[in-house]
Assembly symmetry: C2
Homo-oligomer: 152 residues x 2
C-alpha cells in the first residue's frame, strides 16, 4: 500500500449519471484542496508514455481525470517532511473518480494507461509560470519511477 504523503489530498467526486450524458464534478470554491484559481488546462498522455518528473514551488495542483486512465506517482524529497523519500501512487479515471490535490514541493510523474484519450484537467492555484516549475526527466533515472500496482 502507498503512503499518503504530507501535502496530498484525495477527494471523492460525484458523477451525476443521466441518459443524455453525465455531469462530472471537478472543483468548487471552498472544497478540500482549493486554494485559489490561477489557471485551468488539460494535459493528455498517450498509452505507455510518462510525463514528469515535475515539481512546482508555488502552484497547488488539483487534478481530475474525466477521460481515460492515468497513473500518477508522487515523490517526496523534502528535507523536513515526515514522509521524506516516500512514494505515493494513484490511478485515476472516470471509474475511480477523485480529485488529487498536490501541494507545491512534491515531484510528480504520470503515465497514460488507456488505449483511448487519457486526459487530465489541472486547476492550478496560480497561473503557469516556468520560473516556479522544475523538471527532472524520468529518463535521467535521478528519481526512480516505481511500478507499484494501485497503491491507493
Amino acid at each position: 500500500m502507498g503512503t499518503i504523503i504530507e501535502g496530498i489530498t484525495v477527494t471523492k467526486l460525484k458523477i451525476i449519471a443521466s441518459v443524455p450524458g453525465d455531469v462530472m464534478h471537478a472543483m468548487k470554491t471552498g472544497e478540500p484542496g482549493f486554494s485559489g484559481f490561477g489557471e485551468a488546462y488539460f494535459s493528455t498522455i498517450k498509452k505507455g508514455v510518462v510525463k514528469g518528473w515535475k515539481r512546482h514551488s508555488a502552484m497547488t495542483l488539483n487534478i481530475v481525470v474525466p477521460s481515460g486512465i492515468i497513473r500518477f506517482v508522487i515523490y517526496d524529497d523534502r528535507q523536513h517532511s515526515s514522509t521524506k523519500n516516500k512514494y505515493f501512487e494513484i490511478t485515476l479515471s472516470p471509474t475511480n473518480y477523485h480529485r488529487l490535490t498536490v501541494q507545491p514541493g512534491l515531484w510528480m510523474a504520470f503515465e497514460g494507461i488507456d488505449e483511448g484519450l487519457n486526459m487530465l484537467l489541472n486547476i492550478g492555484s496560480i497561473k503557469h509560470d516556468p520560473q516556479e516549475a522544475e523538471n527532472c526527466p524520468v529518463e535521467s533515472g535521478k528519481i526512480k519511477y516505481p511500478r507499484i500496482q494501485n497503491a491507493f
Copy 2:
C-alpha cells in the same frame, strides 16, 4: 452567418502539441470572459442528443470542449438587448478550439455531434445553484431550436 449576441465572447485557445500528449489551455485569471471562479464541472452529451434550454440569472459560463464535437445554440430574449430574438451558433471541438463565454440572461442548448466522447468543461463564475438556473426543455418547442450550419 450568425450574429454575435451581446454578452457572448469567443476566445481562441492554444493547444501546445507534443509527442507524449498535447497540453490544451482552458482559462487563466485575467483572460477575456473571466469573472471569478465558483465551480468547474464537465458535462457530456451523446451524439444526436440535446441538453437545454437553460438560462442562468447569475452564473457566467466559460465553456471549452476538449473531447468530441458539441454544437451550441444561444438565444437572446432579453427585453432591452440590441440582439433581442437573435440566435447564435458555434460548434466547438479540439479542432475548433475556442472558449465560449456566456453572460447570465441568455438561453443555451447544446447537442452532441461526434460518435465518441462529447465533453465540455464549464468554469462557472459562481457555484452551481438551482435557484439561479431556469429550464425550458427543447421538446416543449417554446424556444425554437434552429438547425443553422456553422454560423460561427
